[in-house]
Symmetry: C2
Subunit: 293 residues, 2 copies
Amino acid sequence: MDQNFITVNEVGPRDGLQNISKIVDLAGRIEIINAYKTCGISSIEIGSFVSPKSVPAMAETDLVIRGIDINEFNYSVLIPNLRGFELARQNKVKIICMVLSMTESFNLKNINKSINDSKEEFRIIIDKSKEERITTKIYLSTAFECPFEGKVKIAKVIENIDYFIEHGVDEIVIADTIGAANPKQVNELFKIIERDFDISKFSAHFHDTRAMALSNVYASLENGVTKFDSSIGGLGGCPFAPGASGNLPTEDLVSMLHQMGYETGIDYDLLLDVVKLASRVTNLVLRGRMNHF
Amino acid sequence: MDQNFITVNEVGPRDGLQNISKIVDLAGRIEIINAYKTCGISSIEIGSFVSPKSVPAMAETDLVIRGIDINEFNYSVLIPNLRGFELARQNKVKIICMVLSMTESFNLKNINKSINDSKEEFRIIIDKSKEERITTKIYLSTAFECPFEGKVKIAKVIENIDYFIEHGVDEIVIADTIGAANPKQVNELFKIIERDFDISKFSAHFHDTRAMALSNVYASLENGVTKFDSSIGGLGGCPFAPGASGNLPTEDLVSMLHQMGYETGIDYDLLLDVVKLASRVTNLVLRGRMNHF
């Protein structure tokens, strides 16, 4: 891959849509996902296999998959456990995302399990994924701060990176789930990661809750990170995390990356058209923070 | 000064107020300036001695000065020329700000002079200021990009830094007047400045037009910059610069600095009260980009 290429992973159809009050119907979800093709976004989290009771907006992810060509792009699906993995496998999903919180209380709120139980289950899922040639991504969520337990120690994050690298995960996403990280912390963490691990296996997921998402992206880029999550128009957050509003808007991320001279494969003007489409489908005023002058 | 201390220079009463459609009256201007005391902001650009015809919002800056104690804090006033300097001197201003654009067309639009003519006049003003014990600040505006001439070469900026350092200016403000700089450019410029000059003489002024102001602050901090301009609630811009809307909101700057462990002497909660007061006086919905959750 070109050194200058940054992968933008769009999380609007999952992290975005599951956190708005309106439940977007199947046709709307498929329309948004297919629209990304027009602007060149090819890495997209399209849904999750979680309990429809807990997250009704993500029900029928199997039907979403039937409405698209699952082999066409880097489409990923979030799964919380073995049951979710089984559904992903049956639906021929090629990339699965797992989420482990760095604090017990958040992991409990999020997937109702202890960290150790989750790790053991995810390890089994990684093993099974290898047999099935499914790519695995582990989100280390609340990697900087937890709304319940406060600051997270770097040692905690590194310990979990070690665990998942050892067990052969394909990608580790450092996630600032509640948008509490500052660029100094991001720099500190990724400096250690770059020194001790293969940085190309890492990705970063920031929220703009405290207006620092792009600063955190810059701090990550400075340490060799080349993969970032973002959500169209800033759509979404996490329903179980107080104050987690405001994903990093994809158009702001792409705008900054292009201005810095990076390539993303994305056409910025066509991306804005997709933002408009998503605004119409969700009936929300979606827009990045950049003024489109 | 404590290594960990960052000076926040508030430009709302000048850069802010001169760029809104409403002209805030004398009492309102004084009320805002005096309100900053409550939250600990002590470095403030309070007005300018420019032609009231060109910038009606800044008329009566002499009366503003009579309404405050000019010796109490680090109050600065912008002056475009010798006539402005004379007014500043008569009004016992202790800190003056001059603005030189890095491109001819912008300098012409802004102060109706060639760069060379401005430099010669500013040199004379610096000399006179030394006799009067007035502190001098030179803004190198459009230091990264000009709306008329495009990208600005680093060599151009360095050449002007050389000139003003040689002539004994007290502070040089690197100003991204139209909010077009990206953190990579900021890093490149300040890396050179830090290597070749005394970084403590430098300050940075960013606009958030393209959502990169805080990223640019971070890139500056990484190179030892300890002084930043910002405007309460993001108030203002430059009336002669297309697309210059959106100063960096003071509350977002302060929030990020505090989260990174820097000291500013500013009480964040009381600062938000001043934002509310300024909203009332200007009749605008002012707010930073950070969600106050």
